[in-house]
Symmetry: C2
Subunit: 271 residues, 2 copies
């Protein structure tokens, strides 16, 4: 562990890291924070992503393999006091590890390629926890990419990073794209674009999901705006068999993405 | 609107309602709080459930049909000042309506009947938001009942009631049951009991879900304990097609419950 322990929450280094909890500073530095052993491990698995690692003395002992990986990768390490870690971390129970990471998103044309078979588009998703959960679910369902449109939350928001549980580092993510541009690229790449909306005339059970598919998910309170529904090839709803008015956004996205994943593997009858 | 406006947050009536945010008082009074127009509307749809309704002047105007329904049902109405409503409500942006409701759960034998085809069991689910979301999803998927075991969160916890989005009032819910007892009842009622766990040998795609099925969902951090896995007829995991380590509990539950719902309607091939 290089250098001495950071104990002063007002030190310039601590303040510089703390600023990355704000989007304006993240965008300026093109950097964000990843907290906890799982996220830090996944970030270290990517070349050149982690630029600084902060660890408490406890965490150094508990996660020796992460410290070793960081050292081998030449990542500057800083030991932080418990108080400094609490200042830096955004979780109530920080697990003593926090990495400053370079932005990992890629341009739209690298996320949406001609061999993509399953893509999730987050349009107007404002809740970072929901967005991160959809990213994690898209990863689990084997999606090729996730697109955050310019009206959606920042994928580097701390809550989104945490809810993604490492998936932000697993698959190509693109951000800040206009929804019209995203849809055009998806269509050009040969994907059928389905808008998930409770007002859809067709249900998941009615559509053939065996081909390459992109799903557009909107804000849970008001679904997708008319102009986005018009851009899509189909508007599809998750069937409600009981008396619930609707599903939570992340839940609906899970049902849609898994229906696609299953159908692409098992065939159209399973859609 | 009977009586004058409640403006004093220290008045005995306000304090009595406020206490229902604590489980011990809920259990003593066998009463809980439902906030917001959607939950209050659903509660009023059940005979004798709402025992008191609190509304701000604004909410009275905005939701006149709810006020009328409450009046017709003989529910005592209290106008609350904004300050009192903020004191009573647990949400940051209370929507000006709050009902004191009688417990709505039913005994296990009324929740799990011989004609039940889909039941969700929450075992060791500690996060009230997750529990409420699973309840909402189970309702959407057409489940016949939801069982909260004695090691799970209180279904009347404010966060759970809110996350359920009214579903707590839609389908039979039972609570405080030992998991062994719940599983025995489910088996006696002819349901196949599946434990959802990331360590399951079989995936959702391998099992025939067309028959009557109960799903047991556990705590998201550590899945289900060995003794519960042994009680189940099968341990089933949601397949992970990508690189995510696991799914969030509510997301995994949605995929399982919808796979069952679809399979029961479309046939085994769709499982």
């Amino acid at each position: 562990m290089a250098g001495s322990e950071l104990t002063n929450i007002k030190s310039p280094r601590v303040k510089a890291v703390r600023r990355l909890t704000k989007r304006a500073f993240r965008d300026r530095d093109r950097s964000f924070l990843a907290e906890g052993p799982q996220a830090v491990r996944e970030a270290l698995a990517l070349d050149g992503v982690v630029t600084e690692l902060f660890a408490t003395a406890d965490a150094e002992l508990r996660h020796a393999e992460i410290i070793t990986a960081a050292t081998l990768a030449g990542v500057p390490l800083f030991r932080a006091s418990g108080e400094v870690m609490t200042e830096l971390a955004q979780t109530v129970t920080p697990q003593g590890l926090l990495a400053v990471c370079r932005f990992v998103h890629v341009p739209l044309e690298r996320a949406v390629t001609a061999d993509a078979r399953l893509v999730a588009v987050l349009a107007h998703v404002r809740d970072p926890g929901n967005a991160g959960t959809v990213l994690r679910t898209a990863d689990a369902a084997g999606a090729d990419a996730v697109v955050f449109t310019d009206a959606s939350v920042d994928p580097y928001n701390g809550k989104c990073v945490r809810a993604s549980a490492g998936s932000l580092f697993h698959l190509p993510v693109t951000t800040g794209v206009a929804v019209t541009q995203a849809v055009q690229s998806l269509k050009d790449a040969g994907l059928r674009v389905l808008a998930a909306d409770g007002a859809g005339k067709q249900t998941l059970d009615d559509v053939d999901l065996s081909g390459p598919t992109a799903w557009i998910f909107g804000n849970e309170a008001w679904g997708l705006p008319e102009e986005i529904l018009r851009l899509a090839d189909e508007v599809v709803r998750v069937p409600i068999y009981g008396r619930a008015e609707s599903l939570n956004l992340a839940t609906a996205a899970a049902v849609c993405l898994y229906a696609s994943a299953r159908s692409q593997r098992i065939g159209p009858g399973a859609g």
